[in-house]
């Protein structure tokens, strides 16, 4: 079976003045895959992903999503097309309740069935295990739970592509294990792009891994291939 | 009066206004540049400079020159002290949050203005200038015998007005020396660039802020003391300077002192000229719309950094 490309980029670059953050990246993500994007700090991962979801514009290149050129499309329209993004630094509505947070995520796709809102919010919260916290003020929760709330909001959107930016940062070991289980289940219906530093998580989840350094892709392949790749070793361990 | 002399007169008047405006706007710009807050009560500090000058000259009976000199020194200091109190008691407690500061300074504006109304009263009071020699200005015309100079009736200025221009230049120079050449100026610029790093280097940021806020108010008050012999002190006189200072600082670029000076001269002059040839109201309409459109389309102004 030929894998359908969900998201791809052609020669995407981004520079800030003289600094080149991302350089000529060709990237392809087939539907249904769990892809991990790894690399040392400053490799350009978050910049690249921010261009994918539209938070920052590309300096040059093309981005295709579901067969359409979305390079010029503003962020909110890409989200409407089926992308979901969770922030590297937790960005929830801290003063609102957990319920309200997820309701805001779910609301846009329920325009004709708004009475289903409560049900959908409940479903999303249950999947991440936060259903008991529905009435809590989001900002009052422990950091790990706030990260889970972000994931719940992503799930609440029922996206085609879920982009997770360092989701397990700050989570305890037990929480990380739960997270792995959750994402495996999510991936049955959603394509997942995961920026991660935690190698265990990457190895447990990823179907394929893309490695970036200095704004370019230096390696791409299955977990085994990457584990044995010299260039990757050098990038991480400094040769 | 013909057009030529009339224009010269308008430009001279404009230059006087520009001088005062430069000082007032520098005060506002300094505060925004270092502290990143917009002080809506700035015009009231200006007004208080004038009112204190009146009070001081009124109290010190005797030669007008001595009274004026005392006012020139004491009034800005009094206003500075008041400003420091506002900073410590209010602005610091708000942690200099931009939006909350603006709202709080609006409150300060009304408190200062209305207390002045209650004590000083609703009337305008004049202050005698220390000297006021009328100086006729020559104009030229081409006749059969060549270039001839004469003194058109009505084309004159006073020695005091020239003094104002000179004093503003001296004060401006003083501020420049302070900012660019002194250790204090270095501390101020460091705090402006990066508050946290400045703190890490042992600079007492909160005291710097109090100082800057006081200094900004003092410079405005100084401008008011200079202008009050020409203009009269009135409790509502802070409104126009505030508006014009805003215009200058935004067009010149928030945070750039050089931009402020350039914009103040341009706007003071053109405001003066338009006011003479058209009406002051039209000049103000054009000025406010100019600020609005600059902010909408070119928020960096001429020289400065972006407004967040």
């Amino acid at each position: 079976m030929v894998a359908v490309s969900l998201l791809s980029t052609q020669s995407v670059s981004r520079h800030f003045g003289g600094l080149i953050a991302v350089q000529n990246v060709d990237f392809d993500l087939p539907k249904g895959e769990i892809r991990a994007l790894i690399g040392p700090n400053g490799a350009g991962k978050t910049t690249f992903v921010s261009m994918l979801c539209g938070r920052i514009p590309v300096s040059s290149g093309r981005i295709m999503f579901q067969g359409q050129d979305v390079t010029q499309l503003p962020a909110h329209k890409r989200i409407q097309q089926g992308m979901a993004y969770t922030f590297q630094i937790t960005s929830i509505f801290a003063e609102l309740s957990v319920y309200e947070n997820v309701a805001l995520a779910v609301q846009p796709r329920l325009s004709n069935a708004i009475n289903k809102l409560a049900q959908e919010v409940e479903t999303a919260l249950t999947r991440v295990g936060l259903q008991a916290y529905s009435e809590r003020t989001a900002g009052d929760m422990a950091y790990g739970h706030q990260r889970l709330l972000e994931v719940a909001m992503g799930l609440g959107q029922s996206p085609q592509l879920l982009i997770l930016d360092e989701p397990t940062q700050g989570l305890s070991d037990a929480e990380v294990d739960d997270f792995i289980t959750l994402i495996k289940e999510v991936a049955e219906t959603t394509t997942v792009l995961l920026i991660e530093h935690n190698i265990n998580v990457v190895m447990a989840l990823a179907d394929r891994i893309t490695v970036m350094n200095f704004g370019e892709i230096i390696a791409e392949g299955s977990p085994e291939e990457i584990r044995q790749n010299d260039a990757v070793q050098t990038a991480y361990l400094g040769g | 009066m013909e057009f030529g002399p009339h224009l010269i007169l308008a430009m001279l008047e404009g230059l006087v206004q520009a001088s005062v405006l430069t000082l007032t706007a520098l005060g506002l710009s300094l505060v925004f540049g270092v502290m990143r807050v917009v002080n809506v009560a700035h015009g009231e500090f200006f007004m208080l400079g004038a009112v204190f000058a009146y009070a001081i000259t009124d109290w010190l009976t005797g030669s007008a020159a001595v009274g004026f000199l005392a006012a020139l020194i004491i009034a800005p200091l009094l206003v500075a002290a008041l400003a420091v109190v506002c900073d410590r008691m209010i602005l610091r407690r708000l942690d200099y949050d931009p939006e909350r500061t603006i709202v709080a300074t609006i409150g300060i504006l009304y408190v200062l203005q209305q207390v002045t109304l209650m004590t000083y009263g609703p009337d305008a009071h004049p202050v005698t200038p220390p000297f006021n020699q009328r100086l006729a200005i020559p104009w030229f015309e081409f006749t059969d015998t060549g270039l001839e100079f004469y003194f058109p009736w009505g084309l004159s200025t006073t020695s005091y007005k020239l003094f104002v221009i000179a004093a503003a230049c001296v004060a401006g120079l003083g501020i420049w020396i302070l900012m660019a050449r002194s250790k204090l100026g270095l501390i101020l610029r460091a705090t402006q660039l990066d508050r946290e790093t400045a703190q890490a280097f042992g600079i007492p940021v909160e005291r710097v802020y109090a100082f800057v806020f006081g200094l900004g108010a003092a410079i405005a008050a100084l401008g008011a003391v200079l202008v009050v012999p020409i203009q009269q002190a009135h409790y509502l006189m802070g409104g126009d300077p505030l508006l014009l200072s805003f215009i200058v600082v935004i067009i010149g670029g928030l945070g750039s002192l050089r931009g402020t000076v350039v914009a103040a001269i341009l706007i003071g002059m053109s405001n003066g000229v338009i006011s003479v040839f058209f009406t002051p109201t039209l000049a103000k309409i054009l000025a406010t719309l100019l600020v609005a459109f600059v902010l909408v389309y070119r928020p960096a102004g001429l020289f400065g950094t972006k407004v967040a």
């Binding site: 329209k77 846009p108 | 939006e99 603006i102 709202v103 709080a104 935004i250 103000k284 928020p299």
Partner: protein, 311 residues
């Protein structure tokens, strides 16, 4: 019926009942308060719910007031259609201002709205022959009639104000409980996050500005019609600061807050004006105290401590 709705309907009923009880002085005051509360509610939609702090709302109030007033004065249009014209003018004006001002954010937005409002005030003064400038003009009693109901009669005036107030109160309640209202709050709380949930931020903000401006214009047109005066003082800076004050005091982001704040400040100033001419002094002091200590306002505090369900 939900308790939210019954709370707000009770307020309306209370105001209705007060017509029969209040002595004339307070009766007239309350009519004025209700119209000003509409102005404050309009401000709340932009500031309390969407997080856009404007310093120039007087321009929207005046767009309605002068749209209505000038139609009547210059073209002898009758009161009813003139009111509608006032509404139309303020809606279009709010759209224009929104398109321009929303290109700025934060402090820039505050200053831009302040500047546009000042320009409007100065323009009213400049076209003195038409607008009668600072002095303003009076709308004669004979003209202030809709369908043969004389609006200068204190009873009719009170009910007209109550009707306008009730419509706007319930409209705001509906808005904040609707999905759109939730989005406005989200924009206020965390704009970037709201954008990344797929919401068109700019369109929502523009909608809030237009709704807010039109409602403020309705208050302006109503004020002119009911109290018979149209004047430039309603375009000056203090009149832009007042709704900010009313909303901050009453509780930003609550539906009833603006009314509470308006009522409170109106009487506070009324009382203090017996002592001194400096009536904005109270406004200044209250603003400072609110910013320092009580940013949630009266109803905000009540909501936080006791009535968590308060919209």
């Amino acid at each position: 019926m939900s308790r939210e709705l019954s709370l707000h309907l009770s307020l309306i009923t209370l105001l209705f009942a007060l017509h029969f009880i209040l002595p004339e002085y307070h009766h007239g005051n309350l009519a004025r308060v209700m119209v000003l509360a509409v102005y404050a509610m309009a401000y709340n939609v932009m500031f309390g719910y969407t997080g856009l702090l404007s310093l120039g709302h007087a321009m929207f109030f005046c767009a309605g007031m002068y749209g209505m007033g000038l139609s009547m004065r210059l073209y002898e249009i009758s009161a009813g259609p003139a009111f509608v014209i006032g509404l139309g003018v303020s809606a279009v004006f709010a759209l224009l201002i929104g398109l321009l001002a929303l290109r700025t954010i934060g402090v820039g937005f505050m200053i831009v709205t302040l500047m546009f409002s000042q320009a409007i005030f100065l323009t009213i003064l400049y076209f003195n022959p038409i607008t009668r400038g600072d002095e303003g003009f009076v709308i004669p009693q004979a003209a202030r009639q809709i369908a043969d109901i004389d609006l200068s009669d204190s009873g009719n005036r009170y009910f007209a104000a109550l009707i306008l107030f009730s419509i706007c109160l319930l409209a705001v309640l509906k808005l904040v409980r609707a999905p759109t209202g939730r989005v406005l709050i989200a924009i206020r709380e965390n704009e970037e996050r709201a954008k990344m949930l797929g919401y068109d931020i700019w369109a929502h903000k523009l909608g809030a500005v237009v709704m807010s401006g039109t409602m403020a214009g309705a208050a302006g047109a109503a004020y002119g019609l009911l109290f018979g005066t149209v004047g430039a003082s309603f375009a000056e800076v203090p009149f832009s600061i007042l709704p900010l004050l009313y909303v901050l005091l009453g509780g930003p982001g609550t539906v009833i807050g603006p009314f509470v704040g308006t009522l409170f400040m109106f009487y506070l100033r009324d009382l203090s004006s017996a002592l001194t001419d400096a009536h904005m002094l109270v406004a200044g002091v209250v603003l400072i105290l609110l910013t320092l200590y009580a940013r949630r306002g009266i109803m905000g505090l009540i909501r936080e401590k006791w009535l968590k369900w308060l919209p």
